[in-house]
Amino acid sequence: MKPQSEMRSKSSREMIRTIGLHAVLVPLAIVWLFPLWMMMVFSTLPENAIFSAQIQWLPGTHFWANFEQLQADTGFLRTLFVSIMVALVYTVLSVFLTSMAGWALARYHFLGKGMVLAIILGTLTLPYFVVVIPQFIMVARDFGLANTWFALIVPPLFNSLGVLFMRQSFSMMPGELFDAARVEGVKEWKIFLFVAMPMARPTIAALCIILFLASWNNYLWPLLINNQPDMMTAPVALGSLIGLTRVSWGGIMTGAVLLTVPMLVVFVLLQRHFVAGIAAGAIK
């Protein structure tokens, strides 16, 4: 047994450590939250307040007026609709494509399996720039499909991280479960759909979030392939305003808020799945 003085020093050491920890983290956290806070503030201020000599720390009441300005500049509601539709359809299609491929790679032996895996893994870290030019030439010129839903949704479906993510999830399930279904005469596609997929629900949730977010925030490809106002996505429409000289910055900020806040809400509600999805993306 230690003397009492030393025991007290243990708790006081812990106190010092706690204070030090928060002395570092709290200011950093404020700095990190600052841009998001300013985004909210700017979106609710009239133009002259944004560009006044005083710092505006607190939100105003101009959000709706700013949004009307944004809508007049770009037809933002239409671009939001395009973004939502694209992200939804892309997520559903991609989850099914990558799950099916991940299932095949996890649970069957077949000719050429090693090669398929090697190609997927080998090209995983290639920069997107290597493919964006041919993709553009193919979709815009050869297929003549610029400014279509197809152009926004289908080419980005090549994403192979989802395949590896699902493959890992399926290969960690006990094989006897699928054998049990096989002995019962359940067809392979039904085993996939009614046994494997329901069991992979947490993984699928994480994958859905990551895919939806990637599509929602995708900028370069939609910028290149869809430039007609009625087929623009919201980030592209908003980006097109940023370089202009006579533009409503309050309007741009409402757009930024509309793009960001729903994702923040999803993040807060589904943080666990988010974190799982991001961590899995890095651990191969």
């Binding site: 006990p174 006897e176 479960l177 054998d179 049990a180 279904a181 096989r182 002995v183 019962e184 005469g185 359940v186 067809k187 039904k190 009614f194 046994v195 329901p198 069991m199 629900r201």
Partner: protein, 361 residues
């Protein structure tokens, strides 16, 4: 109802051969147990019968029909897995009916079969629960129920009790025996536990390293093992093996010297005459040792540990040169705390094996 026949079944995974030409006849309605140490190929052989693995060579017949190219579902079999393999996202009822539902079986018939299985296994109250909410024994019942629902010709069990604790294992063993007598269906059962094999089987198949070592009724294997491996594997506690060398051999008998017993000699009847000087092994089951002077060869032992179980006691003892032996004795309260023991080997109940483990008597 159907029998199962294996003819020269060989299985290779890549270049590794795990089953070396297994041939076997399972009669209609018989309870057959595949037993052997882990890695002996018993589960692989069962999965070949199920159709979950393809045989590399050889033929599998169920009910007289060649089934090598028949899908698992069409072989008339049902299987109970070691991990139970219950679908975690379905209730007990959904687990039981899943296969039938997926194959478009009429609803009334499905309900009838599920109901019947639930009654046989007494799991009616559990129907709405998920596997997570069940105890190990209950999961085991559901897994068996899922097999019953299929009304199969042949039941296959892959180490079904190995995940249960000792008490439940005994209880479920009795249940499975009852099930077999109620349904009268052919059952093939894989286990590494020789007690399960002895208590359940009509016929035991002992496997080692992908080869069938011996097939026979439980007590026949016990009384008349074909070789040293089977002799050592069947029976608990295990048979004692003592190193020996042949001193003289004549027609029908051989005298051997127990190398580690200070040169004690014993004469055993043999059918296959060993040569003088051969290294051999003498096998004696723990319960066959007799009191000093009442057998044909006395050996002196130092007692290591004695387990007193009330009716019998097991004496773990060393010979002078350190060979470990187990002696089973009728319990005697006066022997508690004893340090030395002289036991005697009866020649009629001792086994003799050659250096390759082949039985000589």
């Amino acid at each position: 109802m159907a029998g199962v026949t294996l003819k020269n079944v060989v299985k290779r995974f890549g270049s590794v051969q795990v089953i070396h030409g297994a041939s076997l006849e399972v009669e209609d309605g018989e309870f057959v147990v595949f037993v052997g140490p882990s890695g002996c190929g018993k589960s692989t052989l069962l999965r070949i019968v199920a159709g979950l693995e393809d045989a590399s060579e050889g033929e599998i017949e169920i009910d007289g029909m060649l089934v090598n190219d028949v899908e698992p579902a069409d072989r008339g079999i049902a299987m109970v897995f070691q991990s139970y393999a219950l679908y975690p996202h379905m209730t007990v009822e959904q687990n039981l009916s899943f296969g039938l539902r997926m194959n478009g079986n009429p609803r009334e018939d499905t309900n009838r079969r599920v109901q019947k299985a639930a009654e046989i296994l007494r799991i009616n109250e559990l129907m709405k629960r998920r596997p997570k909410q069940l105890s190990g024994g209950q999961r085991q019942r559901v897994a068996i129920g899922r097999a019953i629902v299929r009304e199969p010709e042949v039941f296959l069990f892959d180490e079904p009790l190995s995940n249960l604790d000792a008490e439940l294992r005994v209880q479920m063993r009795v249940e499975i025996a009852r099930l077999h007598s109620e349904l009268g269906t052919t059952m093939i059962y894989v286990t590494h536990d020789q007690t399960e094999a002895m208590t359940l089987a009509d016929k035991i198949v002992v496997l080692r390293d992908g080869k069938i070592e011996q097939v026979g009724k439980p007590l026949d294997l016990y009384d008349d093992p074909a070789n040293q491996f089977v002799a050592g594997f069947m029976g608990s506690p295990k048979m004692n093996f003592m190193e020996a060398s042949v001193k003289s051999a004549s027609n029908g008998s051989a005298t051997v010297k127990l190398v580690n017993q200070g040169g004690a000699m014993i004469t055993l009847p043999v059918s296959d005459g060993p040569a003088v000087g051969d290294r051999v092994t003498v096998g004696v089951r723990p319960e066959h040792f007799r009191a000093a002077g009442q057998g044909d060869c006395d050996i002196d032992l130092n007692i290591d540990v004695a387990e007193h179980l009330g009716s019998t006691s097991y004496i773990y003892a060393n010979t002078k040169s350190g060979e470990q032996l187990i002696v089973e004795r009728e319990e005697s309260r006066s022997e508690v705390g004893l340090e030395k023991l002289t036991a005697s080997i009866p020649a009629q109940q001792a086994f003799l094996f050659d250096a390759q483990g082949k039985r000589l008597n």
